[in-house]
Amino acid sequence: KMSKSKSDRIVGPRIQEEQSDSEEEYAFSRPSVSHVKNLDKRRELNAELKRKKKALTREGRDKRKREREELGDDAPPAKQPRTLENTREQDDTMVTPDDQEILDDEAIDEFASYFSSDKPPKVYLTTSAGRVKKEKSETMGFIKDMLITIPNSTYEERKKRTLKDIIDTCKAQDYTDVMVINEDHGRPNGILVSHLPDGPTCLFKLTNITLMKAVYNHASPTDHRPEVIQNNFNTRLGHTVARMLASLLPQNPQFEGRRVITFHNQRDFIFFRQHRYIFDNAKKARLQEIGPRFTLKLKYLQHGTFDSKKGEYEWIQKPEMATSRRRFFL
């Protein structure tokens, strides 16, 4: 009898409230049943609470739906679920499109020459020293795909050369970028991109690689210069990284090739995708993935060309910066 009255006490008053945010109140101040020692009874109470909550939510949802139908355009806007993206911690470095200072800054930064001229990028690919040499090397598979994906790129074996020497040689041969695919235990796990004249160097963690041939029903790649889409690079650091990635690919796309490369940033992970698209009509387009697929995460952005000893870092990932789940840097 004691428990019965308790359960009544818990549940009763809240149900009677007819306000629209009662379900929220209920959700946040869900009564505790931890004082009940008996497991069976506790389970019963919990199940009942859950049922009540579900009924409330359902009630609220139906009510809002009815409201929307009745009022039409006048109805209050639909509630959006809270996600990590839309509850992101406010970042002072977010770039607004009309910020003249940032525009001036970008007009003279290391990538300005790429964006202002027609000179196509020339990318040099290599691996980390001592790559595992085997038949079906994942690294080589990835590199072959990258050679197809990035126009005007060449690969050379690392052969115990230091990165600094490689960079000097590439500068002399007019390369614009050096990309080093880092390998660990036979698998590619990082990309170091160094923009050449005196550009910054980025180290990305490379994960979730799916090679072209492994993409189900993939389209065949072509030589056309691709269109480039970059999503969600909103902060100042994000802008620099986006410019860095964009400068790997040539500027004037060949639209007849219908080839598009996407760098999509979400929660500091950059997703690379390559698609072929076709418009059925003016409004509808279909996509077919060409591949490869991979994910990048920025580890550091170093000022100047690669110099692990004396290079100064503009941004370096540190554990102390992971202050909350809702804090992102790109």
């Binding site: 001036d104 800054d105 000022h303 000893k309 004396k310 290079g311 100064e312 870092y313 540190k318």
Partner: protein, 381 residues
């Protein structure tokens, strides 16, 4: 206080910590005119002396940025010092040293070395070496460049009065690499500290010997900048290339006291507040960081959009408080001095509220500083 920041694109911004906004900005965004060095031209902080990457040395008004005097040197200007009689001493990366007065160039000479950091020593009372003449003119300590050690030059005779010597070969009989990045006086007469790009901290005493009197290896990254607190000569802060900003105790041989958190990029310039226990730092992460030196708490972190090379601090002046004073009743004119002092304290209240106030005083200090303290004056350090 006002914090003046010079960006790597040639802009100079003034940030007011009281109003918490950038109150002034001038300069044109360029690549060649990167400001590499900046000092106050005068005591009331109304003029700046800027040194640029292309060797241009200008005196500018703080408010408008208009150029008062202009000179040019060979190479990026890495050190500027204001001498008596409004003369400017400047040195460049390529080893050129110049002394200017107004629009005139008094002297220019070149030393055959890289200069990344320069310290000015006023007249010395005693010579540093047996052979060195006792001179009342200026001497400078210069250092920088891979493999190049510090040396002290006499400005008048251009002779090397003292030069450093590297530490002995290490246990493998290999020469210890040296690349001084930043020098800082511990005692402006004879002792200076330097941090190197090979993770070392060194102290040199010119009176004692050529080799460093203290060498400490610290950290995993090359140092970028060192600064020693003007209030507490035992407190040093240093930044390194990997965004670590740490405070050190010089009494305990450069022992780490603790790190300052929230820094994402290498800090290229550090400036202490002359009176308060605050330190400001700017660098490649595009933020102005203001920390409390004692608690290492972040007082402020301001996004300033460009990568920055130099920071200068200008404490709040009494003149700025006068408009406030006019609002007060005239009765208080009797204890005017007290009033002014009170308002000076009020002026920095919002920052000081965050700082701990230390009210301990020793008898010795009281005696040495005399009796000019009012009741409200609390000793802060």
């Amino acid at each position: 206080m006002n914090v003046v920041v010079a960006s790597s694109t040639g802009l100079v911004k003034t940030y007011d910590t009281k109003r918490k906004q950038v109150v002034n900005m001038w300069g044109k965004a360029t690549k060649e005119d990167e400001i590499t060095s900046m000092v106050w031209a005068n005591e009331d902080h109304t003029q700046l002396i800027l040194g640029r990457k292309n060797g241009a040395l200008t005196t500018n008004l703080l408010t408008s940025g208009s150029v008062q005097t202009k000179h040019s040197l060979d190479g990026a200007v890495t050190g500027i010092h204001v001498l008596s009689n409004d003369r400017i001493l400047a040195c460049t990366e390529n080893g050129e040293i110049g002394i200017f007065s107004g629009d005139e160039e008094i002297e220019k000479f070149t030393v055959n070395r890289t200069i990344e950091s320069m310290l000015f020593s006023g007249s010395l009372e005693s010579g540093c070496q047996k052979k060195a003449p006792i001179s009342t003119d200026g001497r400078i300590v210069i250092s920088g460049g891979e493999g190049q050690l510090a040396q002290m030059l006499d400005l008048e005779t251009k002779q090397t009065l003292w030069s450093a010597r590297n530490v002995p070969l290490d246990f493998l009989d290999v020469e210890v690499p040296i690349h001084d990045r930043c020098l800082s006086w511990i005692n402006p007469q004879h002792t200076f500290a330097c941090v190197t790009a090979h993770k070392q901290f060194r102290v040199y005493d010119i009176r004692a010997q050529r080799r460093p009197t203290l060498t400490v290896d610290y950290g995993e990254r090359p140092f970028v900048r060192l600064a020693i607190s003007p209030i507490d000569p035992n407190l040093a802060v240093a930044s390194d290339t990997a965004a670590n900003f740490t405070s050190f105790d010089l009494r305990r041989k450069f022992a780490r006291i603790g790190g300052f958190k929230g820094v994402a990029g290498a800090l290229r310039s550090i400036a202490f507040h002359p009176e308060e226990p605050l330190v400001t730092a700017v660098g490649l992460d595009r933020f102005l960081h203001i920390f409390n030196v004692n608690t290492r708490a972040s007082v402020e972190k301001v996004y300033l959009k460009q990568r920055m090379n130099v920071v200068l601090v200008s404490p709040l002046k009494k003149q700025e408080e006068e408009p406030k004073k006019e609002l007060n009743s005239s009765e208080e004119e009797s204890s005017e001095e007290e009033e002014e002092y009170e308002q000076e304290i009020e002026g920095v209240n919002d920052i000081l509220e965050l700082l701990p106030t230390v009210e301990t005083e020793t008898r010795k200090r009281k005696q040495s500083h005399g009796n000019d303290t009012t009741q409200q004056k609390k000793r802060r350090h």
